[in-house]
Symmetry: C2
Subunit: 457 residues, 2 copies
């Protein structure tokens, strides 16, 4: 379809910037931390806030649907036209825990505007992106006939691996039927570089516990005869990479789809050099498989990370304890065509082969999701290319994302819908870290781009 | 000197068992945890309680002496005789932190008697031993002329490495002048095996921090290009032992005094087989340098232990963080003639040689003490041999202790006084662990033995 002149449409958007921002602040004030059972009520409250918001802009059937975990928010609005596609907008309203709190300059759930940024947990990942989508649809709904049918699904468990979303998609296949999905849960490469993500890494997350003596021991009385579980855990973890940073789990790379020369050349065009990664992270030297460039290592290679370590005495001062147990949270980022269930087996096999008889160990799988890779030439992707180019004045880059958005693969499999993956967060947004923020000028541009997207479909 | 018939003297001891026990419970009710600044007031309260107690049994000059840290309790009583030695009784009133609290069957600072045991933090290490000494002196004071001059020094910082005791000994050299020290801070090999310790391991305690990116990162966006500090820490720790359990710090064994055949034969007579250690700790297989027996590894070989590990997210559930830093508490148990300051340098050299350039590290020395080894034929030791044999009906064993009592070496150096090291705690007392307890029948025997000791000198 041809699109109408959007000047007057976007005037509405721009006139409502203050309201959009205030509503985003309201949403970011609710501590919807999905990993902690203490926030059960906040999850419900956030879902109800969103359903009410969707209803208020003119979406129909806006409601909170219970799941065995946190509820899902659903809403839809049919176009009066029949020859238009159905877009399913995906979002999540849950956020990462804010700890360590002492490193925040302002309170994580008291949004604070400083300069061009809004600081709050979830501002970038992804309450800001959810509200950008809602605000764009709000604009489109003011402008007469809808250019497409629109549905929303906003879940509350993304940050804990979406344990109930797959079942929800299966159970609500008809309700969620669509031609494509829009998923704005990815970020931009830089404020002047609109980005589209065509591949996402999957995730396998585990808790590994190593048990030694039946209780904590005096390190003087038993040091030298009992294998220290903290030491044994470190030995096991140290063995999970070789000196090149390659993961040693048996069979880990067997299914990894190799990069071809064309894709390597394309990835090399991204403004994501070693310098970029050093500047973003502050490290003096990068690390990882030397035969791949940094962007290849993050996007196209699987990795294994220690996300947490705990054993013995960690308070102030000293305690001469030989701890009874030690724990690590360990996760792998996966690329096509690895399978999370197979990686679980590979971890178990590694431990069976390497754990000494002096300790016992236990692995608890926590969450996971398959990696995925999509076609760059779909109708939705091409509409987004045009929309981003219109607003930013430069052609978007195509990127493989290091992070995981398991729902993209699930929607492919269950709803038979490809996702268009984008977003308006920036690399320095500190997502999953203290002082998360959202760059507001970029966010406002993002709303404009999404308005265009709906008309360019 | 010949000793009087002790039957009537010990009748006093036995008549007062209930009071002795009640007073021990009172002392164990004060949470005198030296490692936590929150317990400053409790430390003062415990010191005052002990000074009052010492005054009440007839000690003179009983008082609480301030130090830059926790106060020291002092008391003395001169014999009316001139031809008797001066004994300095050492003790500490501070205790280890009780965590993890959820593993205690009763509250750590609400002493509970169950069967023959008294459960409380500090009951065995070493409030029970301090009270046994006081109760023995109480008995001796009821019995006419003192068989020796007696002094007490009870410190409040042993569990944090006695950071102010050395200065205190130097500053109070005259006040503390003595012919020998009695130190009941060691344990027995078993309830029927009274024990005298002639060698103690020293200690070097450190906090090692590894720093990576400037803040926590999203493990998806940066996993594969940034060296994970938790992983780097594990790699460094894993390299600190070889596959035989031998410590790899450069020069670590250079000063270790070798065991000769006679001492190895004597240590082999102790009822401390591999079975014993397995039973005490519940591990299915022991660990450590294969060319030494378990008792040799604990008593005569230095070791390196991880006492604590912390990094990233350690709460419930999952968080996909690439942590900014990781921490380990690491301590070495030292044997004669290792030097804690040299071991500090050896750790630094190991880290300089092995730490990768992808991270930064920092070592904070926490506490330390020299190892020591003493003559088994001193007057004090021989008196104790006789006293223990009288009460238990069997000759005590001589043992090298795996734990550290730095004050023994300090008293040797500063006061020129050898210590007689013994104690009435048992291997299953769970010292430094949940459910610490004291075996009361053994404790009562210990009081009797100390009464004999003073008369046998």
């Amino acid at each position: 379809m041809t699109h109408p002149d959007l000047t007057s449409t976007l005037a509405y958007t721009h006139q409502n910037h203050d309201r959009f921002l205030q509503e985003l602040k309201d949403l970011c004030s609710i501590p919807s931390i999905s990993t902690s059972p203490d926030h059960k009520d906040d999850m419900q409250r956030t879902a109800e806030w969103l359903a009410a918001k969707l209803h208020s802009i003119g979406m129909t059937d806006a409601r909170v649907i219970p799941t065995p975990g946190n509820p899902v928010v659903y809403a839809e609005r049919k176009s009066t036209r029949n020859d238009v596609p159905t877009i399913l907008v995906y979002g999540h309203y849950d956020v990462q825990p804010p700890e360590p709190l002492e490193l925040w300059s302002s309170q994580p759930f008291e949004p604070e505007q400083r300069g061009e940024n809004l600081y709050a947990r979830g501002a970038s990942d992804m309450k800001g992106q959810v509200m950008a989508s809602i605000d764009a649809v709000d604009t489109v709904l003011q402008n007469g006939a809808l250019p497409c049918h629109i549905k929303f699904i906003i879940e509350g468990e993304e940050e804990i691996g979406s344990p109930h979303l797959r079942d929800f998609l299966v159970a609500n296949r008809d309700l969620l039927a669509c031609d494509m999905a829009l998923n704005p849960d990815a970020g931009m490469v830089g404020p002047n570089t609109p980005s589209i993500v065509y591949a996402l890494r999957g995730l396998s997350y585990f808790e590994l516990r190593v048990y030694g003596p039946k209780h904590d021991l005096h390190s003087g009385s038993y040091g030298g005869v009992v294998h220290n579980p903290a030491q044994a855990l470190c030995e096991l973890i140290a063995g999970m990479h070789d000196s090149n940073g390659t993961v040693t789990l048996p069979g880990f790379y067997d299914r990894v789809r190799p990069l071809d020369a064309e894709e390597r050349a394309e990835l090399a065009r991204l403004p994501l050099s070693a310098d970029h990664f050093q500047q973003e992270t502050g490290v003096s030297e990068l690390w990882g498989e030397s035969q791949f460039t940094p962007i290849e290592r993050v996007g196209a290679r699987p990795t294994l990370e220690v996300n947490g370590l705990y054993s013995g005495y960690t308070g102030k001062g000293s305690k001469t304890v030989l701890p009874a147990w030690a724990m690590a949270k360990i996760s792998m980022r996966l690329v096509a065509d690895q399978d999370p269930a197979e990686v679980h087996q590979q971890l178990l096999r590694y431990l069976e082969e390497h754990a000494p008889k002096t300790i016992h160990w236990e692995v608890t799988p926590m969450s996971g999701g398959a990696p995925c890779i999509t076609d760059r030439n779909t109708r939705g992707t091409q509409a987004l290319v045009k929309a981003l180019e219109t607003v930013w004045g430069s052609r978007p880059v195509f990127k493989r994302e290091g992070g995981s958005i398991p729902v993209v693969g699930d929607m492919q499999k269950i709803l038979n819908a490809d996702s268009v993956v984008t977003g308006f967060g920036l690399p320095d947004d500190n997502i999953h870290a203290p002082n998360e923020k959202l760059h507001l000028p970029t966010w406002f541009k993002g709303i404009d781009a999404l308005v265009h997207f709906f008309y360019y479909l």
